[in-house]
């Protein structure tokens, strides 16, 4: 008699999917589709003369030669340098002043109120924020500035770069303000009290204790803002659109216009490519200065 077969459950197929894969799959998919693939595509596109017909026609380094011979480029680069430096100065300087004033000099609830006011432009959708400025700078007597000075100045036409700097500075200052304010709050009270006992004035405390302790946040804000100022153009597009005659056109906006106003996707990609390389170099320097751990701590909170 045959021995009775014991029924056994079939063993599972030995291929085991690690448990974290299903959790990370959607994340990996989207990041690949909209970060990694575009990076590769951008590199490839920069070697083509793709236009509205969307044909892949490789032309080698033609776009890069064009970039270095483009007569608008020197102007655009100069604008970019002026715009980034000046806006950075406002963002960091004003941010520091606001951070110190609203955290050290006034009680917490008052400081909170002013920080909330300064956060308003950041929270407001860009279109509405731009509209507010278009009204302030309106060339007729209805504009706020013209109303105040009593004459009709066409601000966006006469001082386009200045306008762009102020408009971005008013949004950007809140970034530094929040970070500096948080950093000041984390300074142990003992330091400040000890200084007060020794008879230090408020100004001395700010100058000798607070600002030296803000060294890391200062460097962080500076490098982070440099990167984002180099590459963002939303407010410029809305307020002056680079005009008049490229007077407020910055690098990233020029790439945008080339691609989406003139439908020169290949050349636009090349302009963006050089910008990305510059941005990466800036980031590298930033990482070098910080060390990665430090940056992760600062950027992630954690």
């Amino acid at each position: 008699m045959k021995p009775k077969r014991v029924w056994r459950r079939k063993r599972a197929i030995p291929i085991r999917i690690p448990p974290h894969i299903p959790f990370l799959l959607p994340f990996a998919f989207l990041v690949t589709l909209f970060f990694f693939v575009p990076v590769v595509l951008n590199i490839l596109l920069a070697f083509t003369d793709m236009d509205f017909a969307m044909h892949w026609n490789f032309v080698g380094l033609k776009n890069y030669f064009r970039f270095f011979t483009d007569r608008i480029i020197p102007k655009v680069l100069l604008n970019t340098v002026i715009y980034v430096t000046a806006t950075l100065a406002i963002n960091v300087g004003l941010g520091l002043v606001l951070g110190i004033l609203s955290t050290y000099y006034v009680p917490e609830n008052v400081g909170l109120l002013f920080r909330a006011i300064w956060l308003l432009p950041r929270m407001t959708p860009p279109v509405v924020y731009a509209l507010l400025w278009l009204w302030v700078l309106d060339p007729t007597e209805y504009g706020l500035l013209n109303m105040l000075i009593g004459q009709n100045v066409n601000w966006t036409m006469q001082h386009p770069l200045g306008v762009v700097i102020i408009v971005n500075g008013m949004v950007g200052a809140s970034f530094g303000m929040i970070i500096f304010s948080a950093a000041i709050k984390s300074i142990p009270r003992d330091y400040i009290m000890a200084a007060q006992v020794d008879g230090a004035s408020n100004w001395q405390i700010v100058r000798r204790i607070i600002i030296p302790l803000l060294r890391w946040p200062l460097m962080f804000v500076t490098s982070w803002q440099t990167l984002s100022l180099l590459t963002s153009y939303e407010y410029i597009l809305l307020v002056t659109d680079g005009g008049p005659f490229y007077k407020s056109e910055v690098w990233s906006l020029y790439a945008y216009h080339t691609a989406f106003s003139h439908q020169l996707y290949g050349y636009g990609a090349a302009i963006a490519m050089v910008l990305v390389i510059v941005a990466i170099v800036v980031t590298m320097i930033m990482l070098k200065i910080f060390g990665f751990r430090r940056l992760m701590e600062l950027a992630g909170g954690g």
Binding site: F34, L41, N42, R122, I178, W216
Partner: protein, 303 residues
Amino acid sequence: MNRKKERRYVAPSTWTRIVRRASRGVPYILLALSSLPILSMYLWLLMSSLSSKVLFGFIPAEFTARNWRFLWEPIQMGAAAHLSVWKATWNTLIFAVSVMLIVVLVATLAGFALSRMQFRGRESIMRLIILLHAFPGITLLIAIFYVLYFLTRATHIKFLDSLWGVALVKASLEIPWSAWIIKGFFDNIPWEVEWSAYIDGCNRFQAWYKVILPQLKPGIAAISIFSFLAGWGEFIYLYTFIFSEQNQTLSLLIKALIGEFRFTDYGLLAAVSLFYIVPVLIFFIFTQKGLMRVTVGGIKGGR
């Protein structure tokens, strides 16, 4: 020497007291003055939406409801009419909610894995997230345009000129940072709670859904609010990837209106804009304290 030291304890003269009192007010004055331009802008927005004539920018002269006419009739420009505001609001809502749902779902899943599981490459993914957060996604606009164009051609599903196609792009840009935030929230839930779920027989997904998710509510609320607002206020991606008027969101509608009414009807522009930013303002007022920590990347700084 001795006498000098003693003098410090003598009550300060009236003049010194006044100076000191006044100098204590200086920071307030500086803060108030610097905030004045911002406040006046928003005040103007409110006032000019309510009146047909505004004196000195802020004093409404004649109250009128005409600026709000867009609520019950289409905005006419010559013979042609703009997209109805309600349709644009609906589009904005669809866009913002899709961004929010995608972000919350994907970021929560990823955040769970990053916080709770040990696997090779975990540390590198964390680094990658920071790099992606810092990377200016806006420079990739041209290439993303091609990705959407390619997907549309390959699948015959509309990715370009479709709200959810752009929502997918927008969500992907928000996801790295949201995953980081939500990972922090996972880190704060004690391991023991999760262990007890496994002991009671839950598998990973059940533990996630039944035990951890309820404790995660504040974190999910934070990234939902934030990604919703990011979607609600979005301009540049929509402006670039949406072509047809039927798909216009409020931001695109306002951009079109600015082009036409800038010099003729600020009242209308102000009213539509106010209508547009009301949800933002409401969220801002209620969550302002939390947002201040979250807006700039949850930075605690100075440690």
